[in-house]
């Protein structure tokens, strides 16, 4: 559809369309429904949900877990097949990172790290699907079947800050939960208040430590979002501006992006492990 509409659509419209979400939410007049333009979507405020990124996120996560479960149920210790070997190598990779980075006892950390790594990897990988394929099909279906002109349909969940911040804030809640569990409430707040400079500098300590604490989830979520959003935006600029020359440019950027996709998943997982490990350290 992008090619067919290219004449009637400016590059700006093209990019805005690709960066919009298929939003379902409460309109200002109180009734619930889809937003038919970016303006309508922003009028909905907080009471809205991105059906596209949320849907892809859940679909990819569910696909990953059900597939791993299927492979796991058929796994044999003595005679592993190719698929089992593949899944096991991912499992062992994550397990090795967890045993290196996490020195305490907590059976949740392994599954958490595995979920984070594979899920984010899959969500990031959606960035390598050419930008108009699924979005174009969805827009065509929206226009011709539901009468929804210029229906947006984002397929890379990690270019949605809601998705990345949703995960990083969950990790943040776990950090606070385990900190209080292992250091006690006093220990946890003590680390914030008395840490770098002792008890005579409490306000100054808090000024340093509270932003440090808050920076963890924010940087965790925004790093992932920023990398993927920038990557996606560059794909869109190449698609929108370069005409026929976009093919080699897409290829070059995709090759570079092939590094970013697993790297960002890995970074998110490693930082999650490290933060949670620090949360398990007893207060000092």
């Amino acid at each position: 559809m992008a090619a067919a509409d290219a004449e009637s659509q400016t590059v700006q419209e093209y990019i805005v369309h690709h960066l919009s979400y298929l939003t379902f939410g409460r309109h200002p007049d109180g009734h619930w429904g889809f937003a038919h333009s970016p303006e309508e979507a922003s009028e909905m405020g907080f009471m809205a949900i991105h059906v596209d990124t949320m849907g892809w996120s859940i679909a990819l996560g569910a696909a990953f877990l059900l597939w791993f479960r299927r492979v796991g149920l058929r796994a044999s210790a003595s005679n592993p097949g190719a698929i089992q070997n593949f899944v096991e190598s991912i499992f062992e990779f994550v397990d090795a990172r967890v045993s290196e980075g996490f020195t305490h006892k907590n059976s949740l950390i392994g599954p958490l790290a595995l979920t984070v790594f594979v899920w984010i990897l899959l969500m990031n990988t959606m960035d390598l699907v050419p930008v108009d394929w699924i979005t174009g099909i969805a827009a065509w279906v929206g226009e011709h079947i539901f009468g929804f002109d210029h229906m947006p349909f984002k397929i890379v969940p990690t270019t949605d800050p809601n998705i990345t911040m949703g995960m990083s804030l969950s990790v943040f809640l776990l950090i606070i939960w385990y900190s209080i569990q292992h250091k006690g409430i006093g220990g946890f707040f003590g680390e914030l208040a008395f840490h770098p400079f002792g008890k005579w500098m409490v306000p100054f300590n808090l000024m340093i430590e509270i932003p440090t604490l808050l920076a963890k989830p924010i940087s965790l979520g925004l790093r992932l979002f920023g990398n993927l959003y920038a990557g996606e935006l560059l794909f869109l600029l190449i698609a929108g501006l370069l005409g026929l020359w976009q093919l080699p440019a897409h290829f070059a950027w995709a090759v570079f992006h092939l590094l970013v996709v697993p790297l960002q998943a890995f970074v998110f997982m490693m930082l999650t492990i490290v933060y949670l490990n620090a949360a398990h350290e007893p207060a000092h």
């Binding site: 939003t23 939410g25 979507a41 922003s42 909905m44 405020g45 907080f46 009471m47 809205a48 949900i49 991105h50 990124t53 949320m54 996120s57 859940i58 996560g61 569910a62 877990l65 791993f68 479960r69 796991g72 149920l73 796994a75 044999s76 210790a77 003595s78 592993p80 899944v87 096991e88 499992f91 062992e92 397990d95 059976s107 949740l108 392994g110 599954p111 958490l112 595995l114 979920t115 899920w119 949605d160 800050p161 809601n162 998705i163 911040m165 949703g166 995960m167 804030l169 969950s170």
Partner: protein, 156 residues
């Protein structure tokens, strides 16, 4: 950046997925790897045990071989001794037999000589009478010279 309900939806999805992974996915692979680790460890241990067994069997074999050699050497020595003994005995017996045969032969010779002497003795009077008759040219009365003839025979 429009933050909305999606962030809560993603948090819930994250929690559910982590729970599912913790409950239904992670243990499957952890168990498989654990089982494989155990199998390998058992295999290595069995190999070590087998090696030990082999070593002890080899040692036992060597011991038995030594024992067998020693006992064979003993048997050979005994046999040698026995054969020497048998040869000795046989030699002694043969010597004894030879002596016995020699003695018997000597006895027989003596007996034969005695018998010849007796015969000679029995005939000596006749020969003496015949000789004397020849010398004297007349018959000699044997009965009259009986004493002298008996004395002559006894001197033989």
């Amino acid at each position: 950046m429009d933050i909305n309900l999606t962030i809560i939806g993603q948090s819930i999805a994250f929690a559910v997925f982590c729970w599912f992974c913790h409950r239904y996915v992670w243990p499957l692979f952890a168990n498989v790897l654990e089982e494989r680790k155990r199998t390998i460890a058992e295999g290595l241990e069995a190999a070590a045990q087998a090696e030990q067994k082999l070593e002890s069997a080899a040692r036992q074999t060597a011991e038995q071989l030594d024992e067998a050699k020693a006992s064979a050497a003993g048997i050979i020595e005994q046999a040698n001794r026995r054969s020497a003994q048998i040869i000795d005995e046989a030699r002694q017996q043969a010597q004894m037999e030879a002596e016995r045969i020699m003695q018997a032969a000597q006895a027989e010779i003596e007996q034969e000589a005695n018998r010849a002497k007796e015969e000679l003795r029995a005939q000596v009077s006749l020969i003496a009478v015949a000789g004397a008759e020849k010398i004297l040219g007349r018959t000699v009365d044997q009965a009259a010279n009986e004493d002298m003839l008996r004395q002559l025979a006894a001197e033989l």
